[in-house]
């Protein structure tokens, strides 16, 4: 909190800092919130279990006070709605929001439009952690609880390692060195993961399934597991949305404007990694979201991080809920891995936006 306040004093009205579009920002937020609301309602209504819209509507209305509507939902349908579908929708919102805001933050921190939440090796580290948990811990019932913990530790450790390796380079090449270190660490950890996996071919299928990503998990338990990390990550990142605009000018310029570039970068990377690692731990590797959502927001609403970060949060959450609806209905009652959906629908959609937009690019 103190940092942001300090900065708004230090950088009061610098002309070079990209301003949000001259239009007011509230219509964008309103649109984002509406999008999320529609996604949540659709997410609750649609699924492989055919509950019927009218009993569902009566159930939802019965929770609105003063309407006096009684639910006509059976016990089974009620369990499906509140214990399976609802946590899945909330999980989609959280994971989508986390991956998108983390992607936007990485792109700002590294001034690299291709940066994504997995840039510094989170995916490879989490993959190794998950594989180890599946191979060595799954003989017992607690093996399933171990998986998110192990992949979280793996993901966070990978980024820490990349940071230590990348820092050694120093100087102005530090950003590039950090990205290279991330690539190096990722290759190394992927090699170990493949080795462990080859030694235990019987776990190939579980590992593959985890890698493709899935929201159909342990219900509210996983949501509660994710929530504290999500809150901290989002809070820190949103607090720094102005600083990201300053960083966009370049390290030297940002330093001249009073930003402690090294410290801010460390903090941003740590917060984005915390969110990414937590999301990956509960849902596996859902790709493409961290690139497509922030760029989509930039194309339609302008390049300032003051609007890109909060709007990515909303759009990313809503988008993943819609993607999950596709994942669980297109092959119903079978599941399609959600990572396939995000890339399959996300890529062409983004291509269209890219072609038709004459707007600002990040």
């Amino acid at each position: 909190m103190g940092e942001a306040a300090e900065l708004s004093v230090a950088v009061p009205r610098t002309r070079a800092v990209p301003r949000p579009t001259r239009r007011r920002t509230w219509p964008w937020y309103l649109g984002g919130i509406l999008f999320v609301a529609v996604a949540v309602v659709c997410g609750l209504l649609v699924g492989p279990a055919d509950i019927g819209y009218s009993p569902l509507a009566s159930e939802l209305a019965s929770h609105v006070p003063f309407l006096g509507v009684h639910s006509r939902l059976s016990d089974t349908d009620s369990a499906i709605l509140w214990q399976i579908r609802a946590p899945r929708v909330v999980m989609g919102l959280l994971v989508g929001a986390l991956l998108s805001i983390a992607g936007a933050s990485y792109q700002g921190t590294f001034r690299n439009p291709l940066a994504d939440p997995y840039l510094l090796g989170v995916a490879a580290g989490a993959g190794l952690g998950a594989t180890i948990a599946l191979v060595y811990g799954s003989g017992s019932a607690w093996g399933n609880d171990l998986l998110p913990v192990a992949s979280f530790i793996g993901g966070a450790a990978a980024v820490a390692l990349a940071y230590v390796v990348g820092r050694a380079a120093g100087g102005t090449a530090r950003t590039a060195a950090l990205v290279l270190a991330g690539v190096t660490v990722a290759s190394f950890l992927t090699a170990i993961q493949t080795f462990v996996q080859q030694q235990h071919a019987d776990t190939l299928q579980s590992v593959y399934s985890w890698i493709l990503g899935r929201l159909d998990t342990a219900g509210w338990h996983d949501v509660l597991l994710l929530l504290p990390y999500a809150a901290i990550s989002v809070f820190v990142l949103l607090l720094h949305r102005r600083v990201l605009d300053v960083l966009a000018l370049g390290d030297d310029e940002a330093a001249a404007l009073g930003v402690n570039v090294g410290r801010v970068r460390l903090l941003l990377v740590a917060a984005a990694t915390l969110g990414t690692a937590a999301a990956v731990a509960v849902s596996g590797l859902i790709g493409f979201l961290g690139i497509i959502v922030p760029h989509f927001v930039r194309l339609v609403a302008g390049g300032s991080y003051r609007i890109v970060l909060p709007l990515s949060l909303l759009v990313g959450g809503g988008f993943l809920v819609f993607a999950d609806i596709v994942a669980r209905t297109v092959l119903s009652p079978a599941e399609l891995p959600i990572g396939v959906v995000t890339a399959f629908f996300g890529a062409p959609f983004f291509a269209i936006v890219l072609r038709t937009s004459r707007g600002v690019t990040g």
Binding site: A49, D50, I84, S138, A201, S209, D216, A218, G219, A334
Partner: protein, 280 residues
């Protein structure tokens, strides 16, 4: 001179080695390698165990099988050839394994995953014929047929539904699979059949709850620690009929994923679950 001698020696070796390995076509193999856990079980069940010199890393049954680090998933031709086998039994022709081994004059018997009980019987008879244990193979097949028939007739036949769980993330098997046909023997309706496409679909949790199966079979008890307790604790699953009546069958993963002689144990486990459901 020395050079010429060496060349002659090498030529002699090149002629001698393959001819030593390439036994006459009809000879009984006595250095068998099995890279298929199912074939390992069958070979030992028909009394050909003494002819088996090595089995792959997944062949954990029976205990006396000579388990090695050889792999059927990522086979290494050199490592296999080092045992100087005269017959290698495989369940999948990975990376041109058959042609590589044939070049070394090692006979290969490919027995891919059977999709029917008849397929299993055929493979057991084939192993009997190749290892000169025809009588034992024939006896094993008729014993299996008799026991399966007895188990099936002992169980009540009602129109019940079953959910076969391969993994905790709800991969299942449809009726067209080997495992699925076992449920058909009992007249059980498989809830996975509603899924389009693959024979091994990954089902949605909410679909399983809505389908409300009467019987749940866990083929992931050993790999993934699943049990009646863990299944009951899943969100929304406490209302499922099978959970309420406790009709949750735990089958050893290896039995449920193979198509060998122990399918009898599997059929019996399902039969006894159905019988206990009847008495409730």
């Amino acid at each position: 001179m020395l050079k010429r001698a060496l060349i002659a020696l090498a030529a002699a070796a090149a002629v001698a080695l393959p001819s030593a390995a390439a036994a006459p076509q009809k000879a009984i193999p006595h250095r068998i390698i099995s890279l298929s856990p199912t074939a390992t079980e069958s070979l030992f069940a028909i009394g050909a165990g003494k002819q088996v010199i090595a089995v792959d890393d997944q062949s954990d049954y029976p205990k006396q099988a000579p388990r090695t680090k050889l792999s059927g998933y990522t086979p290494n031709v050199e490592a296999i050839a080092k045992y100087r086998p005269d017959l290698v039994v495989i369940s999948g022709d990975v990376k041109g394994l058959t042609s590589s081994l044939t070049k070394l004059h090692i006979q290969v018997l490919l027995q891919p995953a059977a999709t029917t009980l008849a397929g299993t019987y055929g493979q057991i008879r084939e192993l009997g014929a190749r290892t000169s244990h025809q009588q034992q193979a024939k006896a094993l097949v008729s014993r299996m047929q008799r026991r399966i028939k007895a188990a099936v007739t002992s169980a009540p036949h009602e129109s019940l539904t079953v959910f076969h769980e391969l993994t905790p993330d709800l991969y299942s098997a449809k009726s067209d699979t080997f495992i699925g046909r076992v449920y058909a023997l009992f007249g059980l309706k498989n809830i996975a059949d509603a899924a389009p496409g693959t024979d091994y679909p990954q089902l949605s949790s909410e679909y399983v709850v809505a389908a409300n199966p009467d019987v749940i079979v866990l083929a992931d008890s050993r790999c993934c620690g699943q049990s009646r307790a863990t299944v009951s604790a899943r969100p929304g699953w406490s209302g499922i009929a099978a959970v309420k009546t406790g009709t949750i069958v735990r089958v050893d993963d290896s039995i449920a994923s193979r198509w060998g002689p122990r399918v009898v144990d599997y059929v019996r486990a399902v039969a006894s679950a159905l019988k206990s459901l009847k008495t409730k």
